[in-house]
């Protein structure tokens, strides 16, 4: 499914939180940007939880914001998982999901049971039916969040900072789950962790201060930093000074020295190297890439 956003603006108290955003969402779409860039606001607008001031949103070319409407029209296509998912802390996973299924309008008990079992199997929580919601780890809670989304069978899944605050093991498990979901759904992932975006996304949008600075494939994003990334060998004792003066994007320990990658808009007397995604992101945020 294709999600198209055109000239979307969100104003709060005369301040533009989102300013004339146009995006074409398909595949697994990564929305990156610093904190306060407007990523969560955009997600919430798409999920119908916040108003928009102007603009249009279409799903498969059908408009879902009608003239003068402040919210996206209610629809079953979009499912949204907030960053801190938690429902019914005192109830078990099964009770919580069963209630959500009732609220989704599934009144047949056997159908609810089947849906819950299927959803829990997808998120690898089959044996955790009876655990209380407040006994689950952050990653497991988020997987329950995905399970309740999947019961609705949405075509577009929105994930707000899905891996933030997870330990390494949970993060890897969660990333793999998102990758699997991306095979059958259109997925939008908002994050400021560039590694996750690199691992998951086929298309990337960069938001800063409510404005879209870049939209394209990961390769196109990398190209934004072409000519600005250098490789340099330094001794361990020189590193502290270098860290103070340059944007070091990677440090590799080698036998005799350290090999560092530097992002610099000023020409350095060092060999240039092929940029990576993080450097492409830096180029866009610093305004040196050519943007869209």
């Amino acid at each position: 499914m294709k999600l198209e956003i055109e000239h979307l603006t969100k104003t709060i108290k005369k301040r533009n939180i989102l300013n004339d955003i146009s995006l074409m969402v398909e595949g697994v779409y990564g929305l990156i940007g610093p904190n306060g860039a407007g990523k969560t606001t955009l997600m919430k607008i798409l999920a119908g939880l916040q108003t928009l001031t102007a603009g249009s949103i279409s799903i498969d070319d059908k408009p879902y914001v009608h003239r003068n409407a402040s919210y996206i029209a209610p629809n079953t296509f979009i499912g949204y998982l907030p960053q801190d998912f938690m429902i019914y802390p005192e109830n078990s996973v099964y009770e919580a999901l069963n209630h959500i299924a009732v609220l989704q309008g599934i009144s047949k008990k056997s159908e609810r049971q089947q849906q819950i079992e299927e959803a829990l199997a997808i998120v690898n929580l089959s044996g955790q039916h009876h655990k209380k919601m407040n006994e689950l780890s952050g990653g497991m809670r988020r997987r329950v969040g995905i399970a309740q989304l999947l019961m609705r069978k949405p075509s577009i899944l929105l994930f707000d900072e899905p891996t933030a605050g997870l330990d390494i093991e949970e993060r890897i498990r969660f990333r793999n789950l998102l990758l699997e979901l991306g095979k059958q759904h259109t997925v939008v992932i908002s994050s400021h962790i560039v590694e996750d975006i690199e691992f998951l996304c086929t298309k990337i949008g960069i938001l800063t201060q409510g404005q879209l600075r870049f939209e394209g494939t990961p390769e196109e994003l990398k190209q934004q930093a072409d000519g600005y990334v250098y490789s340099m060998n330094v001794q361990a004792e020189e590193l502290s000074e270098l860290l103070m003066t340059q944007d070091i994007t990677q440090i590799n320990e080698e036998e005799q020295h350290l090999k560092v990658r530097i992002f610099s808009t000023e020409a350095l007397d060092q060999p240039r190297v092929i940029p990576r995604l993080m450097e492409g992101y830096l180029a866009v945020v610093r305004g040196v890439g050519d943007g869209k």
């Binding site: 939880l49 209610p74 998912f85 938690m86 429902i87 009770e95 609220l103």
Partner: protein
């Protein structure tokens, strides 16, 4: 019907013991009507018991149910569902409380006959029921705390009932403590105020859950 059963069952499970409080207060009101109030001495005490003991607890279940939205991280997930079921939630609790209230009125009728019923009281009780239901939700949305919401409702009610509406507090006195006289201007004022404040509470809550 099946949905109502499922929703009530879930409310009972998630509220645990708190779910039974309005039923306990209904039983207390029932006992009060049966054994405390006297038709001969002051028949209106029967209606004061309904107003002061049972009706304030009609805010209880909805306050607890909608407080789930206040849980950190829950609002974004639950709000679309609660919005969809809002009218249904109101309807099932209005029906439940109305049945409980009518059972108390039936008992009063059996004790005192139809003569002790006047149309002002009969019209006032359902509005008061709606007032407590929506005041509870409105306060919950403003205060964002179950405890504070219920405390405000019960402190108000206790002071009103104990002083029989003569507390001198600068708030509306919406409970009727004396057999109403239709031509009494105070009664008209009380009725109009209760009606208007209930309508504004309904509008406020409906706006909060984006019913319009």
């Amino acid at each position: 019907m099946e949905n109502s059963k499922l929703l009530f069952a879930f409310d009972r499970k998630s509220m645990k013991g708190a779910f039974y409080v309005p039923f306990i207060m209904w039983a207390v009101a029932l006992l009060g009507i049966l054994f405390y109030a006297s038709i001969e001495e002051d028949y209106y005490t029967h209606f004061i018991i309904v107003q002061g003991i049972f009706l304030p607890f009609c805010s209880w279940h909805l306050v607890y149910r909608y407080s789930e939205l206040l849980e950190h991280g829950a609002e974004d997930t639950l709000f679309p569902y609660y919005r969809k079921w809002f009218l249904y939630d109101i309807a099932r609790y209005v029906i439940l409380y109305s049945l409980l209230m009518m059972s108390l009125l039936l008992l009063i009728f059996i004790k005192g006959g139809v003569a002790i019923f006047d149309y002002i009281t009969v019209a006032h009780l359902p509005i008061l029921l709606l007032f407590y239901m929506f005041a509870g939700l409105a306060l919950l949305f403003v205060m964002k705390s179950v405890e504070v919401t219920l405390a405000i409702i019960f402190i108000y009610t206790v002071i009103e009932v104990v002083t029989l509406g003569k507390s001198g507090m600068p708030w509306p006195h919406i409970i009727i403590f004396l057999p109403p006289l239709p031509e009494d201007p105070e009664m008209t004022k009380k009725f109009t105020f209760l009606f208007l404040i209930t309508i504004s509470m309904v509008m406020y809550v409906a706006k909060k859950v984006r019913m319009f």
